[in-house]
């Protein structure tokens, strides 16, 4: 009963604080809006990717009288590639260079003389590849032509090993009939495959700000000590454990209200779809709240000042958010490995999978990992509380 009196009073104190209302309720929604709009280009938009055509200039050798070798013609007429590569011929290297500079071409290939003959003789062949200004188009064109050269050289090596008669068949490798793509794109869950920037940052900001509620709890616990109100509280017929638990419950109630505000606010204002599992989403929010409060407990008990605790808590939250890709998806493997040990990573995975309507066992695996981390933090907080206590 007294625990709930303290919790309710804590809730009321927080609710009267303008900074709590702004930082915990308004700021996350603003950040979701800003990040979701600013970084929307980094995320899928639920539509299939369409490759832009690439204007490729080919420079044949004078020895071939400007004619493109058969192997190259076979390559550019392959299904799939002929839709991407818009073939243009040029008389000289200088001409294609000039066109690349003026953006009249996206990419150029300079073919050495006697290209097909060299292939026929089993000699090593190379193409001179000149990239244009568009990085993405260069990447696609590089892939096409480098793969072609690699295939040719691979075929020649095979022929050398397996016999001369096979060498005659080598040019046919490049011009072999198209047998369709060797890789098929499937969907593991046969459900959604991608999420929007607003969804990604809504999840990331929800997690980060729920963790920030721990900062609020830590400041409140240490604030009682610094303002000497803890002294008076402890002179009342209440145990220190009741005071501590009451304050943590009060902060947790604020955190749950905050989670509801962010989820409903982002859904209503920005159309963020949180997926078809509201109860699981609630469970994830409760686990994050538990992790946040236990982290706050640990930091509060080992810190002597509110300022010190605030600094430490902020550093931990920001570091966890960063390595788990909460500010932006990180392509570095190292961060992925570290991120797997954070609350943010598993909370994020749970939410994103819910948004993608993934299979329930995948979602439950992520929630299970989050629960394990929260349980570990809770155990550590309990042990620390027993050792250190909460005193004026």
């Amino acid at each position: 009963m007294k625990m709930m009196i303290i919790a309710w009073f804590e809730l009321r104190r927080m609710a009267t604080s303008r900074s709590v209302l702004i930082n915990q309720f308004l700021l996350p929604l603003i950040l979701i809006f800003i990040l979701g709009n600013a970084l929307s280009g980094w995320f899928g938009n639920d539509q299939e990717y369409q490759q832009e055509p690439i204007r490729v200039g080919f420079v044949g050798s004078p020895a071939d009288k400007g004619q493109l070798p058969e192997s190259i013609q076979a390559l550019t007429s392959m299904p799939g590639i002929q839709d991407i590569v818009i073939q243009q011929t040029a008389a000289s290297r200088e001409e294609v260079e000039d066109k690349l500079r003026r953006d009249d071409l996206d990419y150029a290939v300079v073919i050495p003389e006697y290209f097909d003959e060299r292939i026929g003789q089993g000699a090593e062949v190379k193409l001179e590849l000149l990239p244009g200004r568009n990085h993405d188009l260069n990447l696609v064109a590089d892939t096409i032509f480098k793969t072609f050269i690699a295939d040719v050289n691979h075929g020649q090596a095979q022929a050398v090993v397996m016999g001369a008669e096979r060498m005659l068949a080598v040019p046919a490798t490049a011009s072999a009939a198209y047998e369709g793509p060797k890789v098929e794109i499937g969907e593991l869950s046969e459900k959604g495959t991608t999420y929007t920037a607003a969804q990604y940052f809504a999840a990331s900001m929800l997690i980060m700000f729920l963790l920030y509620s721990g900062l609020m709890a830590s400041s409140s616990l240490l604030g009682e000590r610094e303002s000497r109100t803890l002294f008076r509280l402890q002179s009342a017929p209440v145990t220190p454990g009741t005071i501590f638990a009451g304050k943590i419950i009060g902060c947790s109630l604020i955190t749950i209200a905050q989670a509801a505000a962010i989820v409903l606010g982002s859904q209503w204002m920005y159309g963020v779809k949180w997926g078809p599992y509201p109860l699981l989403l609630m469970a994830v929010c409760l686990l994050i709240t538990l992790a946040s409060m236990t982290l706050a407990t640990l930091i509060t008990l080992v810190s002597s000042t509110a300022a010190g605790a605030r600094g430490l808590m902020q550093a931990i939250i920001i570091a966890m958010t960063f390595v788990s890709g909460g500010f932006m998806p990180l392509p570095v493997e190292f961060f992925h490995k570290i991120g797997a040990f954070t609350v943010n990573h598993w909370a994020m995975q749970s939410m994103l999978r819910m948004m993608l309507n993934s299979d329930i066992h995948l979602i439950m695996t992520c929630i299970g990992m989050l629960a394990v981390i929260a349980a570990f933090l809770s155990a550590a907080a309990m042990v620390t509380y027993r050792k250190v206590g909460y005193h004026a």
Partner: protein
């Protein structure tokens, strides 16, 4: 009168240092008990132990016959502590502050409302109940600090230096409140390093120094211990070391304390020695601006017991 608080052989150490050194004390039910001593004498530490806020290292403390280590919450229910530092939630109204602490003592419903109104009226803040303490003066905050401790009508009210840093009007209000609370049936322990305050309201007084109770009794009993000394306070321009020296070596002067333009002279009888003292001052060309003769008080007792003044 029944003993309400009993401390027996209580010891408290901080690190290796003794803060309270084998302290024995008894406070009777219904009295105002003054605990006097300089800063660092061990008053606050003793109070924290009585309230169960600090564990003692040795000895026993009984409140209303209950051992504190056996039933700490029962003991706390009987005590209303007015802490030395203001302990208020500045962002909540005066009303909310008092209600919150009253609820922790188990008050509910109509009784809660009645007691909170009563407490705020008692400290003269009923008209400011809806305002936040951040808008209050220092004296008003001190009064609210008291209101938060008395809603449950504690049998023992402990006031730990409740008048630190406030204006004379609020100080008088607080001292009157202490007397009223006592008349209403509460036993009061009042700690201060202001001798005048303790002398004005206390039935019995204990003087603490360096963790010990060095004297304890009614004011009359304590004064009787230094009845052989009276104090003459001279304020003068032109006090020289030679003047102080000559006063010190006077055969019937016991002690001379010199601060700036003031000299305190302790003699067996002010009436008998005054003429001699004025003559010495005149010989050293000191121009007197005031002269005061005092009968022995608690300050004198403290000085005679420790060789120091309370404010040293």
């Amino acid at each position: 009168m029944a003993v309400f608080l009993q401390m027996k052989d209580v010891v408290k150490r901080y690190g290796g240092k003794l803060s309270v050194d084998h302290m024995n004390l008894e406070v009777n039910e219904g009295e105002i008990f003054g605990l006097l001593g300089p800063n660092g004498a061990g008053k606050s530490t003793s109070i924290h132990m009585i309230c169960g806020l600090l564990p003692k290292d040795q000895g026993s403390i009984k409140v209303d016959g209950i051992l504190i280590e056996e039933q700490p919450l029962e003991v706390k229910r009987r005590i209303g502590l007015v802490p030395q530092d203001l302990a208020l939630y500045e962002e909540m109204s005066a009303w909310d502050n008092v209600v919150f602490f009253a609820k922790l003592y188990g008050l509910r419903g109509h009784l809660l409302k009645e007691r909170v109104e009563e407490a705020l009226e008692f400290v003269g803040l009923q008209d400011r109940a809806k305002e936040r303490p951040s808008t209050f003066s220092g004296g008003m905050k001190r009064r609210l600090n008291i209101a938060c401790s008395i809603t449950h009508r504690p049998k023992l009210i402990i006031m730990d230096e409740p008048t630190v840093g406030i204006d004379p009007q609020s100080r008088n209000h607080i001292l009157e409140s202490v007397k009223t609370l006592n008349r209403m049936g509460s036993t009061v322990i009042y700690t201060s390093h202001y001798m005048e305050e303790v002398a004005a309201i206390s039935d019995r007084v204990a003087i603490m120094d360096q963790g010990h109770v060095i004297a304890c009794g009614t004011q009359q009993e304590l004064r009787a211990r230094v009845a052989h000394e009276e104090r003459i306070i001279l304020t003068a321009e032109g006090i020289t070391p030679d003047l102080v020296e000559e006063l010190t070596i006077h055969p019937r002067v016991k002690r001379v304390i010199h601060h700036d333009n003031e000299i305190e002279i302790y003699v067996p009888s002010a009436q008998d020695e005054l003429q001699d003292i004025l003559f010495i001052c005149s010989r050293h060309h000191a121009t007197l601006s005031s002269l005061q003769c005092e009968e022995p008080g608690l300050e004198t007792l403290f000085l005679s017991l420790t060789g120091r003044t309370l404010r040293d």
